[in-house]
Symmetry: C2
Subunit: 374 residues, 2 copies
Amino acid sequence: MLRAVQEVGYQVCLTTNVLDPGNPLLIEAGAPASCSRPRRMVVIDAAVAALYGDEIGNYFAFHDAEYHPLILDAAESHKRMESVHQVIDELDRFGIDRRREPLIAIGGGVLTDIASFAASIYRRNTPYVRVPTTLIGLVDAGVGAKTGVNHHRHKNRIGTYFPPTVSLCDRRFLATLDHRHIVNGMAEILKIALVKDVRLFELLEESGADLVRDRFQPRYDGRSAEEVLERAIEGMLEELAPNLWEHKLERLVDYGHTFSPTLEMRALPELLHGEAVAIDMALTTLLGAQRGQVTDADAVRVLALMRTLGLPTSHPLCEPELLTAALRETVRHRDGRQRMPLPVGIGGARFVDDLSAAELTRAAKSLSAEAVHA
Amino acid sequence: MLRAVQEVGYQVCLTTNVLDPGNPLLIEAGAPASCSRPRRMVVIDAAVAALYGDEIGNYFAFHDAEYHPLILDAAESHKRMESVHQVIDELDRFGIDRRREPLIAIGGGVLTDIASFAASIYRRNTPYVRVPTTLIGLVDAGVGAKTGVNHHRHKNRIGTYFPPTVSLCDRRFLATLDHRHIVNGMAEILKIALVKDVRLFELLEESGADLVRDRFQPRYDGRSAEEVLERAIEGMLEELAPNLWEHKLERLVDYGHTFSPTLEMRALPELLHGEAVAIDMALTTLLGAQRGQVTDADAVRVLALMRTLGLPTSHPLCEPELLTAALRETVRHRDGRQRMPLPVGIGGARFVDDLSAAELTRAAKSLSAEAVHA
């Protein structure tokens, strides 16, 4: 019997103006102090390159670094092994010195999933630095350890757990993100609030609508933007740290992810990920209310906040049949049990295994009635 | 800053007749006790399938398991991403339940490297059981955690560290392995003896030639075969356990692997891996002797044992120029320093960073003179 222990550590830094030449974080991230000229290969989302390509180039020029960009189309349809090979072949061409020259990935979740998967398998691991540019990247995909691509219509069928050396989270990128994708990211922030952080929920009630409208670029000071992002990221990291490789199947961060995967796939391409998650959370809030775990007043508060943020709370596809099929699929993924986080009040949750079809049908009915009344 | 700790454990079992239906190890390995009918996908080396295919099928039939074989050509030229995709597509077709149905890989190092890489990236990890069928697999590749394939003529350019749940080591497969591959595996056993186990060295002196001749299938009892395999595997595991992810670059098991990678590639396809390693060890034994770390008598003993085992001790390509280039390449892989294990007597070694070109030239000359005298 061989036993070995691996300690993994990574940093998530909230910073602003990561592309400002005066900000040394990006050039220093993950690299040992060295007297030789720095070299960096940087994988950039095509949409990001169009907006920030010059700034990125100027940043590395200012730091006198050899700059080797690779621009990738990061549409969901490009999230496949061919794109991983593009990154690998470019790493070969660049001749990366993987102990001194971390790969840098700048983009949304699809881009960073592709680039980080390539890094994880290149020479059995090549350190990388992640710069998420979407809200969902800042608070969710961009701060975790999962990498991967789709394969034959299966989502993330191929991948690894391989955390970045550093994630640099800069809300300035959100200034150019479209409204719908801001709202989309809000769903994952709300998720953390609902399962573990009532203070975050209150912050969203106070200033969530402003943050959406201003794309987290507040006019006067950035205090509420910072506080919301910080709490969302910290809450996420607290849940990830003891369970980075997901050996434990009862995960609070799976809240909103019981019914939404099936809903998202069936509704394709109508719903964004966060939108499907929001509908799942609306439904499970009602399930919690039916069981008396959530007061009716709190359930109303939750649904009201969703609407304030611009998130959907129901969908015509949310019929008992789809919900039952979705639950069955989730049970399969969770090794035979529901392990479903169900809210307890606002800011708490517990796991249940005994949700019945009758409860689901009742909640689905209330939800569509809700939608009519709203 | 997020810190997470992963504990990895895997078993290496020495067994005999792993395909005997009376031996429950293979069907039980890595699977939870279950009342449902077992299902197993088994990736098999084509060369192994030709010899043992029926036995493997019978084994799973006896245990009333749904048996889903995938036979792969495991020549070095097939050690590439295409083969990994073959395994992945078959995992999809089979519809593996990865928490209950470990993938099984039966074959030499190339086969198990391909199959274990596929397992490591399929759904971010799918447990697997390894059954090495070559001597080098039993004592080296088959008991470690490395997976991978070649890419654009770069050896193991893409891969992961992903140990099996269980390695089942059965020397019975060696009965059908050709003589040269038995000798090839002997080099890795000798390596462990030279750097850390003088008792193993003595065992090889006593019975190494018999073991090679009898392919580890001794006529009366298997004691020396068992003892040699056990000591070699245990020695290997002792070195791997504290350094499974190779963060530490000073590795005793790199002995014989300073000059041999370049030699092996330049001499292709003439030299097998173990043969190149043997030549490297002969050279470094002389380097140790030049420095007074190894007595002349011990150096003679080492070279004599190599010849007894049928291993080469020199090669016409072993000229100062190639050796210097090889050392430069190794220094690059070891982050700028030689970190070369150099023998201290028999059964010990220490790391050096200061090997000079003059020493190399002198050792290379002695080695070719040796070859002439031998």
